[in-house]
Symmetry: C2
Subunit: 354 residues, 2 copies
Amino acid sequence: MSRFWSETTRNITPYVPGEQPRDKIRIKLNTNENPYPPSPGVLACLRELANEDLRLYPDPDSRELCETVADYYGLSAEQVFPGNGSDEVLAFLFQTFFGPDDLIAFPDVTYSFYPVYARLYGIPYREIPVREDFSIDFSGYPGEAKGILFANPNAPTGLYIPPAEIEALLRARPDTLIVVDEAYVDFGNQSVVPLVKKYDNLLVVQTLSKSRALAGMRIGLAMGHPELIEGLNRIKNSFNSYTMDRLAQAAAICAFRDDAYYREINGRIIRERERFKETLRGMGIPCTDSKSNFVFASLPGLKGPDALRLLREQGILVRNFAGNPRIADWLRITIGTKEDMDRVVEAVKKIMER
Amino acid sequence: MSRFWSETTRNITPYVPGEQPRDKIRIKLNTNENPYPPSPGVLACLRELANEDLRLYPDPDSRELCETVADYYGLSAEQVFPGNGSDEVLAFLFQTFFGPDDLIAFPDVTYSFYPVYARLYGIPYREIPVREDFSIDFSGYPGEAKGILFANPNAPTGLYIPPAEIEALLRARPDTLIVVDEAYVDFGNQSVVPLVKKYDNLLVVQTLSKSRALAGMRIGLAMGHPELIEGLNRIKNSFNSYTMDRLAQAAAICAFRDDAYYREINGRIIRERERFKETLRGMGIPCTDSKSNFVFASLPGLKGPDALRLLREQGILVRNFAGNPRIADWLRITIGTKEDMDRVVEAVKKIMER
């Protein structure tokens, strides 16, 4: 510790992302990356734009990207905010909408970065227990909360809430900002983005890291009422004039144009997810009904960290959240290719047969 | 304004970066971009890495980049912090080292983003007047300041302070964090980075946007004592797990390896800057002795915004800071190619002959 650290720096416990292994992991299923490459159009566009124009600053407003996303979803560009990964978008929204006098609430099982942001900005928060089956029970959320946040499908459970239930929440709580983190929505679910036109208390966050196979380019989005987006821009423009580099903006634009390619690869992931869930259940292994690009499962009779280790010994890296007692014995297993998942099944069989 | 905006969002006045024009500007000299392209090695590396690996997250610690920069400067990787542009690095350092109970001080003429950061994080600050000739007078800085920040060469004056004077400050104020923003140091000046090994109260910020012609890729750096760097990483890892995408990290690494190329193009800029200053002085136009990749000049008898407009009418975009009364009548003119500067001289001549 340095004598120069601020109080925030001294007290914070940073988020720890899934490992990017340097050793010999044969199958990396720990950070929900897409097993398929970005579209050929995205890669061609990046190669073309790796040119002398990189000496120039990017468009600070990412105008063309905002327009592309707006077209895709039937919004206006003023309803779109892009950022350097959805993590950055989330950080900005915590600071844009909440302060030390506000209360925010989120499930006790969800993306574990939320409490880190709250502590970073000194925002009081309450973690509301999910039900025994991990489903979110909105009736337990405090009336005074200025914000409610959750991922849908939720992380790391994969459980999905249909738009009608979220719309009921938006209507019941018009003065609460409802933030829906749709990082995993494209794996066969319906987005609530269309509700943005109807409710000024809805902010939807998305990422191009998962369904658009661009984790390496760091692209996130928020969509909401123009006044919410204007707020995000005020904070962003007080933090970093240009959050998205030229190549990230271009990759994002091309990815939204190559929709057919992405529907095809994500269709494969959805089919593989359903097959994998069925196989696990057939082996007597409990898993949630995940609608994401991962499966959430618990190997009977094994502590989570032990299960993690036994898989790693067979060259397979998955994720365990030992820090949260409610899910300490569960594993989050990213859906890879059919070959990847066949190997996982083999490895799990070996472990269960010991 | 939305009823959901936090107090910070309501009260902040965002920084306004130099315009990225969409109309017909023939010569863009308003944001200190390099007139020459990134090195061929950087572009080749970007084209090669625009491949299927972009589906994977980048290394969150940018380890190879830290090692490359450390090698370049004779530091250890633990003394290097990379970020998504030096704007992001600056934002992080404001939050990492200062809080509402600390006072920070910087010149009243310097990078105009500093007061925006201070307000974003609620850090009290004092702007200390530079001398009549725009030079920084460290004797006027309050003893209780926990931090002193300045750009060297300073922006937008271009005035340079040699390392010996900064070392005297580091020694005189061992409990003040001295932040030296070296965005423009590579244009013929000596960096204070070597002093990082000797003083734990020094943090040096750099960017690859200017001297390495990579404004479009958003790459910034901080260098300092390992405990200062650790503090920055605590805040960064509580904000965004992966601030630098795969291509930005790769571009930065290649740029540090292609040093000969960059020395050559920046040598051209330095020669052109000296020639341009001499020409302006020969025309009776006051300008500072800028050691940066811009010249700071004041057209006699003209208000700054009028001078800006008259140049723009001739297709030349430069920068004026009308918001700061001390420099309202001055123009910051980026050094472009010899042909660019010849045209600027012609345009200025026309204006002066009216």
